[in-house]
């Protein structure tokens, strides 16, 4: 393989890896419903089942980088709290080493089979099925991720035959710092300490490397793979970033622990690596695999009692972002569904919380903005959608658990409110985008500001109307009366008063007023659902 081919292979591998990670995160968000979360929450509550899950995940994926980012996507989607994810990851590190030991799993062939099966799924339109599309999407993302890793490994593999690498090895033999540095660099390139450990084992087997040097290289590879995860996760923010930081410190901590133990044993004269194969009767490559395994095991066991402290530190280093805080439940809790009637009230509070953020979507388009937004409107809308989507999943779970017909009716009503709130966010974003186009128009700027202000008023009253007393509800019901004729009047008046209005402005005027009409209608629909049982004949309230 020429240097260009080698670089292209690693570069393409990285590209596929990034696509896979991003797509996997997106599909996992849709897939990780409450039932899956409950299952994961159950498994990770027990330290032994967590250890088993981590070992299997590490062994199957053959990459702690992949496990880190799959777990990160579970954290992002709210399926797994960081405190339970960190032990899982610790054991996954040990899981990956099983394959260095066995060294039989050909991941590339498995990925090809997986891609073939996904291709068939696409052929049979399973990617369009509502039930299966996210499963197919997730599998494709996983296949791309592993294909990327396989390409990186394929690109990095010829390094074994490189004469330059061999010369460098001869030069640095017996110098721990340089050997560790080499291992770290190789691991950064290969994106996997397991690959480097496997390559090192092969070199020990072929006599290119002696056992003491190979152990130092593997220690470096361990540190390098931690740094590599940290670099790959540098684009993440908040809680999802915590796992990359954890993985980096885990790898460094386990390497440090292993080296301390090894050097102590050497100093005490209890162990001599160079003569260990002869003393034990085991091959040097097998001993190297054991060394790599014990490094991960030491890390996993050493960090078990420190997990709480580490998680608190991670929270300080990369605290949850404002977007995450908005998208997470503030009132609903893990066992809230056990008491359906209280749960419905908590759902209403979460919906009101989402509604409370909606006026901010209009803030940049007001004539006199009144506050600095801490979260960009687009991110705010995404967070509110995520929150409402999670609320919707919770309502599904509540329906399954509720034997009472009256509660199911209330749940259905909350489902409708939820879906109207989602539509409100979509229409509000379109309205805001349209309003942004009118800022420079001498004809439309003023009416647009007035419409924005009117909507801002109604939206800022919505949270109280959802959860507050009857007066708040009645007041909003009154001011959100049908606007069809009012908007028609506004259109006609502007068109009559302004002789020079362009076709583009006319179109913007029509869209803006129609969207305003729809948004007011949606607010009215929400109000109708909220108190449909207590206010069967919702009237107007004139003071």
């Amino acid at each position: 393989m020429s240097p260009i081919e080698l670089f292209a292979s690693i570069f393409a591998g990285l590209g596929l890896f990034f696509i896979g990670i991003k797509q996997l995160g997106a599909h996992m968000k849709e897939l990780t419903g409450r039932r899956f979360r409950r299952m994961l929450a159950g498994v990770t509550r027990n330290p032994i089942s967590t250890a088993c899950l981590g070992l299997v995940a590490g062994a199957v994926t053959q990459s702690t980088t992949a496990v880190t980012f799959i777990t990160t996507s579970l954290i992002s989607s709210g399926a797994l709290p960081v405190k339970r994810a960190t032990p899982l990851l610790s054991w996954a590190n040990l899981g990956t080493t099983l394959l260095v030991l066995l060294a039989t799993f050909d991941i590339q062939i498995a990925v090809y089979f997986l891609l073939g099966m996904i291709g068939l799924a696409f052929y049979f339109d399973l990617d369009r099925s509502t039930r299966l599309r996210h499963v197919v999407g997730s599998l494709l993302a996983i296949a791309l991720l592993f294909l990327g890793l396989a390409l990186i490994k394929a690109g990095a593999g010829p390094l074994r035959e490189s004469s330059m690498v061999n010369q460098v090895l001869a030069l640095i033999s017996g110098t721990p710092i340089l050997l560790i540095l080499l291992g770290a660099i190789l691991s950064l390139v290969a994106q996997s300490s397991t690959t480097v450990a496997a390559v090192a084992a092969a070199m020990v087997f072929s006599g290119l490397l002696n056992l003491p040097d190979a152990v130092e290289v593997v220690v470096g590879a361990n540190i390098g793979s931690g740094i590599s995860v940290l670099l790959l996760g540098s684009g993440l923010k908040g809680t999802p970033r915590q796992l990359s930081i954890f993985q980096c410190q885990f790898k460094i901590f386990s390497a440090f622990l292993f080296l301390t133990l090894l050097w102590s044993l050497k100093a005490a004269g209890w162990i001599e690596l160079a003569t260990l194969p002869a003393a034990t009767g085991l091959s040097a490559s097998l001993l190297l695999a054991f060394a790599f395994m014990s490094m991960q095991a030491l890390g996993a066991l050493g960090e078990l009692p420190l997990n709480g402290v580490i998680c608190r530190l991670l929270d300080k280093i990369s605290p949850p972002t404002k977007e995450e805080a908005i998208a997470s439940f503030q009132y609903l809790y893990e066992h809230a569904a056990d008491d359906p009637s209280t749960a419905v009230e908590l759902v209403q509070l979460e919906q009101a919380r989402a509604a409370g953020h909606l006026p901010d979507l209009l803030e940049p388009h007001r004539e006199a903005p009144e506050k600095e937004l801490e979260v960009a409107p687009a991110d705010l809308a995404t967070s509110c959608r995520t929150l409402l989507s999670t609320v919707s999943g919770f309502l599904d779970e509540l329906t399954e658990r509720s034997p009472s017909h009256s509660i199911i009716l209330i749940i259905n009503r909350e489902h409708t409110v939820n879906s109207h709130l989602m539509s409100l966010i979509d229409s509000l974003q379109t309205f805001a985008d349209q309003a942004a186009t009118t800022h420079e128009s001498p004809v439309l700027a003023r009416p647009a500001f007035l419409l924005v202000e009117g909507l801002h008023l109604m939206l800022s009253m919505l949270p109280q109307a959802l959860t507050g007393d009857e007066t708040d509800w009645a007041m909003l019901q009154t001011i959100s009366a049908d606007r069809a004729s009012q908007m028609e009047d506004l259109r006609l008046r502007i068109l009559n008063e302004q002789q020079t209005i362009s076709a583009q402005e006319q179109r913007a005027l029509f869209q803006l007023t129609s969207l305003f009409e729809r948004l007011v209608w949606l607010i009215r629909q929400i109000l109708g659902q909220v108190r449909s049982s207590t206010h069967p004949a919702a009237g107007t309230s004139t003071i």
């Binding site: 006026p359 007001r366 004539e367 006199a368 009144e370 506050k371 003023r446 007035l450 419409l451 202000e453 009117g454 801002h456 008023l457 109604m458 800022s460 009253m461 007066t471 007041m475 009154t478 001011i479 959100s480 009366a481 606007r483 009012q486 506004l490 007011v520 107007t540 309230s541 004139t542 003071i543």
Partner: protein
């Protein structure tokens, strides 16, 4: 934002809002406006003749006071809004909840 009170008729409280009723203006008058208007035992006419701008927070201030008066069954109306402010009141739907009059006289007549 300036806030003053008058009695155009012995039993009617006229609340004059002078300036921009945005977040700054609303904060300036909030306490005094709410205390006086909400505790009024007489019909209240909120005079917007000198109000040049009204944001949603300003409209909520008026709505809040009007709601408090409604609970005591005391009449409340808005009088003499300038054209841009009147348009803001109309598009926000406030005119559906509080009567709006173009003249002070019309407001007094409705209140008595």
């Amino acid at each position: 934002m300036q806030l003053s009170f008058e009695h155009p008729e012995p039993q009617i409280l006229q609340v004059i809002l002078d300036g921009r009723l945005d977040i700054i203006g609303a904060n300036e008058i909030d306490m005094r406006f709410n205390t006086t208007v909400s505790s009024s035992q007489e019909p209240v006419l909120i005079d917007l003749d000198k109000t040049s701008f009204m944001s949603s927070i300003g409209i909520r201030l008026l709505l809040g006071a009007a709601q408090a008066l409604k609970r005591k069954d005391i009449y409340c109306a808005i009088v003499r809004p300038q054209k841009p402010v009147k348009e803001a009141l109309r598009l926000s739907g406030l005119d559906q909840a509080i009567p709006v009059f173009d003249t002070l006289e019309a407001g007094i007549e409705a209140a008595t």
